[in-house]
């Protein structure tokens, strides 16, 4: 990295920068911020999906009929080497079976179904009260075993992220408190109501990755949050935590965009924030870390925003993972009569749910119920008129219309060169396109094709190597055989010559003898 860039990265948050494109969207956050946080009551059945995060499904570590305590490990991600899904309450495992889960594909997935016993009895907790003296590796171990994932919606395993990051020198921890999508207010409510927990989590994370300072980014309209966090920082007596207000332009809460806003630097393509000496975590993730370390509690609940014009009383709830979404909606006064669509996540990147019987998952930052007038009626797609609006709003500085054309014409190499992999799927281009082309869907398709192509190319490469090796072997055998044959021929020829010489010699001798006689 350039020497100026190191300085610039270390000064993250001192100056607020801009990123390319983006959209000014109506926030729609206030409607769900008026009522304080409340816990959802224990449901009749907890359905805990084993697919909760980026990567493959976890394996169930419990059997049907087994009794579990609250916080017991029930699922394990073998490829990450640790326990990652925990029982949200005490009770009996009723089944380990395939159930509808909340997933973009809409498919069923393996779930651990727990019938709560109503006691809500914790397992033996192992808090780490003197965390300030703890070894960073021990803190990371604690994070790993508590099933903590990025709670901003990407649900990338936090332990994986920290372990990757500390391979490089990390100087700054960035806590992302800017919910980029409209409607979502779970982080705002968290920072308002539990600022001390956020700050505690920040300090623990900072120690776990060996950073020297923390920057907490919040949106410019979060006045109450700013005050609450400042007070919490003061009472914690930590000078290394800085709170920065940034302008609300979608998608400023995206990791790469946030870092650009705070530093003016771009995370290199294919790289990570760690390349700039930074680690980015969501504020709710920090709170989960604080609970895991100081109280010993694994991640079994999260704050969910239940909102939209399709909900009677929008608000934020603290819900156990595995609670049916219908329970949360009921606690918010139910649906309005004109509800038409149920979305998990925000209006820009969220995906629709087929049913509200689906359980709350770690990624569920928001349940958005929309009415007919909020949503996009099915549009007739028109040809692209090259207006360039998509390029104007693209935060990755791509030319979406060009990419779209390349993907449709299956020009994969050109698409890859044009930065298809750099698309963050924020959906800005979809919103502004006058021809209503589903650009992001094409890009997702294109990306998966590129991945398949890369695998195929690798296989082809391997096959080629094998073929070449076989060819070389066959050639060698052939050459050896020919060599042997030639040697033999030569030997026979030599033999014949010797014979000839011998006969000649004999005939000479005979001739001499004849002369002598």
């Amino acid at each position: 990295m350039h020497i100026d860039h190191v300085e610039q990265a270390r000064n993250a948050g001192e100056q607020v920068h801009h990123f390319h494109g983006g959209l000014h969207l109506r926030h729609n956050k206030k409607i769900s911020c008026a009522t304080p946080l409340e816990r959802t009551p224990l449901p009749g059945l907890l359905i805990v999906p084993l697919l909760q995060q980026y990567g493959p499904e976890a394996e169930a570590t419990v059997k049907t009929g087994q009794k579990v305590l609250k916080g017991d490990e029930i699922g394990c991600f073998a490829h990450l080497g640790g326990g990652h899904i925990h029982a949200p309450s005490s009770g009996i495992v009723q089944a380990v079976a395939r159930r509808p889960i909340s997933h973009p594909s809409g498919a069923d997935g393996w779930c651990v179904v727990i019938e709560p016993d109503g006691l809500d009895q914790w397992k033996r907790l192992e808090p780490l009260t003197n965390w300030t003296d703890a070894d960073p590796a021990l803190l990371r171990q604690k994070i790993r075993n508590s099933g903590i994932v990025g709670l901003g919606g990407a649900v990338f395993p936090t332990a994986f992220k920290t372990d990757e990051a500390i391979k490089q020198e990390i100087h700054t921890l960035i806590l992302n408190g800017s919910e980029c999508e409209p409607y979502i207010s779970c982080d705002e409510m968290l920072m308002r109501e539990e600022p001390d927990s956020v700050i505690l989590g920040a300090r623990i994370l900072q120690q776990a990755i060996g950073a020297t300072r923390t920057v907490i980014a919040i949106e410019d309209q979060m006045g109450v949050v700013n005050l609450a966090l400042k007070q919490a920082v003061e009472s914690a007596g930590d000078d290394n935590i800085k709170i920065v207000k940034i302008t609300t332009i979608y998608p400023e809460g995206g990791e790469k965009q946030l870092i650009q806003v705070l530093t003016g630097l771009e995370v290199p393509t294919g790289g990570r924030p760690a390349d700039l000496g930074m680690l980015c975590q969501n504020v709710a993730t920090a709170t989960a870390v604080a609970q895991a370390v100081v109280e010993g509690k694994p991640l079994i609940e999260r704050i969910v925003t239940i909102t939209g014009n399709g909900i009677r009383k929008p608000r934020n709830l603290v819900a156990r993972i595995g609670t049916p979404i219908s329970d949360l909606v009921e606690q918010c006064g139910g649906y309005t009569n004109d509800v038409a669509r149920l979305v998990l996540g925000g209006p820009m990147m969220g995906y629709t749910l087929n049913s509200d019987a689906n359980p709350v998952i770690k990624a569920a930052n928001c349940i958005l119920a929309l009415t007919e007038s909020d949503i996009r009626p099915s549009q007739v797609e028109m040809p692209c008129i090259r207006c360039g609006e998509c390029a104007r709003v693209c935060p990755a500085v791509l030319l979406p219309q060009q990419l779209d054309w390349l993907i449709r014409n299956q020009q994969w190499d050109d698409a890859a060169d044009s930065g298809l992999a750099d698309c963050i799927e924020c959906g800005c281009c979809d919103v502004v396109c006058p021809s209503h082309i589903p650009l992001v869907e094409w890009f997702r398709f294109g990306k998966s094709e590129l991945r398949t192509l890369a695998v195929e190319r690798k296989q082809a490469e391997t096959a080629k190597h094998r073929y070449e090796a076989r060819d070389a072997r066959l050639l060698r055998i052939k050459q050896e055989r020919r060599q042997r044959l030639e040697e033999k021929k030569r030997a026979i020829k030599d033999d014949a010559q010797r014979q000839k010489k011998l006969t000649e010699a004999i005939s000479r001798v005979r001739a001499r003898q004849d002369r002598n006689e």
């Binding site: 809409g106 629709t352 509200d356 040809p383 008129i385 500085v397 060009q402 930065g419 006058p434």
Partner: protein
């Protein structure tokens, strides 16, 4: 009780714009200019617009049928109407009816659909149509009227219709009495006969900056252009660079040789410069997509327009400027690709 919902695709937002919406906004933005045109030169232009729109929709329907495309969706996009109106605004008000027929044939059938239809055409259809009739029928394309305030004989609506549909003038009228050179023509002919620009400007067809009447039409086109800018239908890059380059180069020429070059503002307020800058060169399909590309595109059109006006064989060069830069647009786009985030 659980409840089922229908699936849908993000973004969960009503769309902000549509192709139809864009085309309609362009038409709204042209209204002030069209009204001014009618005010100064009579209702002939309205007849030309009507004719062009009818022929455009006829050819569009025909081509959609031939190409087996949904009629409702593509006729409803209003793009053929925009092409027709822009084409008609370039015609002399008394042009015979078959000019619109030939123009629209080349605009809609050749330039648009034979190149692949909406979004695929390389050249601006309206300008292709105009270039074809300008080159093929130079005489009828030179039959311009003077502004009504200085006309020796003001044509009635009936006389106008008669001329457009029969090609001949009503009894007692001659082309010499009713037609008048455009300001750009006036300058060209007077320079050719060895006179100075200042002498040419003595002609009553001139106003304060450009041609009498023309300058007001240009003002109102610009007003529509500002509306489009404000509505974000177009970006500032092409109009500013196109007009800016004409003014800058025109200023240099004027300072070097004020005798044979008009003041630069006259260039702006004559001919199709303002119409072209805001409405035609900004056509997204045939222009550049990146902002840097649009800057180059605008400068290119400006330079070519001024060159044709100063040294070329035609009094105005906006159409040829745009068509030539249309050709260069893909190349410009290729070399003005922005740097991708993180690369």
């Amino acid at each position: 009780m659980s409840r089922k919902f229908d699936p849908g695709v993000a973004p969960h937002f009503p769309p902000k714009l549509s192709v139809t919406g864009v085309m309609q906004e362009v038409l709204y933005a042209l209204l002030p200019g069209i009204i001014a045109y009618t005010w100064f030169f009579g209702p002939g232009m309205l007849v030309q617009i009507l004719l062009a729109v009818i022929f455009a929709l006829l050819f569009e329907t025909l081509m959609l049928k031939v190409r087996k495309l949904p009629l409702k969706r593509f006729l409803g996009d209003w793009s053929a109407v925009v092409t027709a109106v822009l084409f008609a605004l370039c015609l002399p008000p008394l042009a015979p009816w078959w000019i619109a027929l030939v123009g629209m044939l080349f605009a809609i059938v050749v330039a648009k659909h034979l190149y692949g239809g909406l979004g695929q055409n390389m050249f601006n259809p309206a300008m292709v149509g105009y270039a074809v009739v300008l080159i093929s029928f130079p005489q009828v394309m030179a039959l311009w009227l003077p502004p009504r305030s200085i006309a020796s004989h003001s044509l009635t609506f009936g006389e106008m219709l008669n001329t457009i549909f029969t090609g001949s003038l009503s009894l007692g009228l001659s082309w010499d009495t009713i037609s008048e050179a455009t300001p750009l023509d006036a300058i060209r002919t007077s320079l050719a006969s060895g006179r100075m620009v200042s002498e040419a400007r003595q002609s009553p067809v001139f106003g304060d900056f450009g041609g009498l009447g023309w300058e007001w039409i240009a003002n109102l086109y610009a007003l529509g252009g500002f509306w489009l800018l404000w509505r974000r239908i177009i970006s500032w890059h092409v109009p500013v660079m196109m007009i800016g380059s004409v003014v800058a180069l025109g200023l240099v020429a004027y300072l070097v040789d004020p005798g044979s070059n008009p003041v630069p503002l006259q260039h702006v307020f004559s001919g199709a410069l303002v119409l072209g800058a805001f409405f035609i060169a900004t056509d997204p399909v045939t222009g550049c997509t990146s902002n840097r590309g649009r800057l180059i595109f605008g400068v290119g059109v400006g330079i070519i327009t001024l060159s044709i006006r100063s040294w070329g064989g035609y009094p105005d060069g906006v159409a040829f400027g745009i068509l030539l830069m249309n050709m260069a647009a893909p190349l410009i786009d290729r070399y003005t690709r922005p740097r991708i985030f993180g690369h």
